[in-house]
Symmetry: C2
Subunit: 187 residues, 2 copies
Amino acid sequence: MTDLPTHDRPLPPRRDVDSLVFVNTGDGKGKSTAAFGMLMRAAARGWPSCVVQFMKSGRWRVGEAESARRLGVDWFTHGDGFTWESDDLDRSAGIAREAWRLADRVLTSGEYRLVVLDEVTYPLTYGWLDAETVVARIRERAASTNVICTGRNAHASLVDLADTVTEMRNVKHAHATGVRARRGIDY
Amino acid sequence: MTDLPTHDRPLPPRRDVDSLVFVNTGDGKGKSTAAFGMLMRAAARGWPSCVVQFMKSGRWRVGEAESARRLGVDWFTHGDGFTWESDDLDRSAGIAREAWRLADRVLTSGEYRLVVLDEVTYPLTYGWLDAETVVARIRERAASTNVICTGRNAHASLVDLADTVTEMRNVKHAHATGVRARRGIDY
């Protein structure tokens, strides 16, 4: 019982790859959360793994970051390992560009078996980062480095590049009935 | 930047609840994995949390279970905390029924703030468990116990009961191009 799709037709010939690219997109819950769940699996296997946060999510990632660090995962977020350029007028764009400089380094260094580019789709959508450059650098990453990209509205060329793409679709959400975000659940 | 849906209309009046029910369903990846990511958040908050596995997933959950235990999460799976009734002729149905006896206890005891009923939808689909009983017992759970149910084809009454339902939709999957399940990634 796994998440692998079922097939009526025979499986295609076996293909061996060194690493995979995943995209978790859509308007529903679970895009980043599923990536963090994959970190649990990777950590149990002793894989060197890291998360690079592209958006200033404030309190929303505190819990995950703490548990990830307890599992030995490196977690890079604004104010924590990032240098800050004071002449970046647009703070969010600056954070995203700084995150990308770090991501570019960890994608090519080969030191990580799993790299989570958390909410990387937004800076592409907003034009803070050049989508073709980001996609090209992910394609040219170290051979053994698996990558998970999360965020709504994944860019078409990122979807093309990815081996596995999942859309998290919001069927219904407690928020719409007046329940506010909750500590321990939402952050 | 969160997974909360955006609204063009004003938010509904604030509603306070003691706990929530989540359903992660659909044919795509990430249903259970997102639930395990939520365990990371809950663990960081010091919430007593547990997982009850309803299907014999074999090697597929070994990594998650190990990391979860390192985070202090109780993980109940066949052969590990379950008693086994030798006169259960159908092994999978027997596992599911045993899991339900345990789940029913942890849902009502109030000792857990978060309970993951992993792959609980399948025994409902296969008729090994009575869906209305399961849904009723989730509704009557301890007030402070949040519940996450995972699995494809969530039963309509489970969807009705849930506060938040996400469909993980398979857009594309490496498996379809011949890539086999991989240690560290799929299990």
